[in-house]
Symmetry: C2
DNA sequence: TGAACAATGGTCACATACTGACCAATGGTC
DNA sequence: GACCATTGGTCAGTATGTGACCATTGTTCA
């Protein structure tokens, strides 16, 4: 409750106001189409002040990405809980991934680009590395869930893990990007979620069906 | 949502932070025993900054008094509502007055001093005038409520208005100050409220009793 | 009683935070 | 390839905040 403390708190608040404004703008328009002036205006500051808190536009951008990647990563890691079927866990993962894509279209776009090997977007080394790591982590988690499903008898033993995992990962990214970058905002979230839900369920049903050998 | 607007807003917030801190301190210790330094500290500012928003300690003090007197005054004026018995209105007035005294012991003390003719406390002309006005207004309202009660037949016609009104006003101030400036904080509010409630009710019952002629 | 001292309202030179006109680089247009 | 519009980044000037200091007042104690 001291004076020093108050000033520190206010500094932090300013920084957060800028980040909040910038996140919204980057989300809406993509990094390239956002001016520092517009960030400043949205944060109710002058442009000069923005540069008191960040050393460049890219600095703002990367800090947002870093924090979002981190959030995403943590959400993924928290996924695997006891007492849930593998199918339920996969549906949970799909939901989290959908949340994330809706919440941060820009980052989703980047991750998609990585997946498609459309190469990097001139991102700093640090970000580049972390995105790859987050992506791999997610894929790894899908794989892990499958293995748990096999151990518990929910899935057949002889499925091709890599193949299934890639199919799921592709399904998610494909459905989301299809809806996210086309059409109107109208009921977008609803459409994505229902498409993913039925698509994933169909896929899992296929895997659990003995007659199909899960292949 | 503009820049100019934000700065204005923040200025206002600073000022309010100082007022809030000062009100608490004045309430607890009385104006004389509060230092500007302590106000600044509580508001998490330096002393110098306090003088950016107020021209003197007295300025802070009077602004608080003015705003509180105004609030008090408005609450009193709002009292007279349709569809209530005069007794209920008087009880309402007593409650508001109790709220106020608990909330602003310092101002209550000043008003008591006026009533007792213990003379002024070197207050600026403006304040002095307003306090007298608020006091008279309150007394006037009590009188008005009595008149309504007479018109509606709730009270006998021949009561001595001035005498009754002074009795009520004295009762309220006496009970509150008795409890407010003596004893401990322990259940103070409860004690004040219950004493006022039964005291006022007894008085009103006496007025409505024909055998006693309301005198 | 009056010298020494403590306490505190108010001031001001210095420090920090904020602003927006300006500059340089970039990309688009004709 | 000259012109222009746009925009990331800079910096001199302004607004806001700080706390050591000063002047005054009241208190203590020899």
């Amino acid at each position: 409750m001291g004076l020093e403390e108050r000033r520190k708190r206010e500094k932090e608040n300013r920084k957060n106001a800028i980040l909040k404004a910038a996140r919204k703008l980057f989300f809406d328009k993509g990094s390239k189409n956002v001016t520092v002036e517009s960030i400043a205006k949205k944060a109710e500051l002058s442009k000069g002040s923005v540069y008191l808190y960040f050393k460049s536009k890219e600095d703002i951008y990367t800090q947002i990405l870093l924090s979002d990647i981190d959030k995403f990563h943590k959400a993924m890691v928290n996924l695997i809980q006891e007492g849930q079927s593998s199918s339920a866990m996969l549906m949970g993962l799909a939901n989290i991934y959908t949340d994330f894509s809706l919440n941060d279209r820009e980052l989703f776009r980047i991750m998609m680009n990585y997946m498609l090997n459309t190469d990097n977007m001139n991102l700093p080394e640090e970000i580049d590395h972390l995105i790859v790591k987050a992506t791999n982590k997610t894929i790894g988690i899908i794989e892990e869930i499958f293995m748990m499903g096999i151990r518990s008898g929910e899935f057949p033993q002889y499925i091709d893990l890599r193949q299934k995992r890639n199919a799921i990962w592709g399904l998610l990214n494909g459905i989301i990007s299809l809806h996210l970058f086309t059409g109107t905002e109208e009921k977008r979230e609803e459409r994505i979620r229902s498409t993913i839900k039925t698509g994933l369920n169909t896929f899992l049903r296929g895997m659990r069906t003995p007659s199909g050998n899960g292949q």
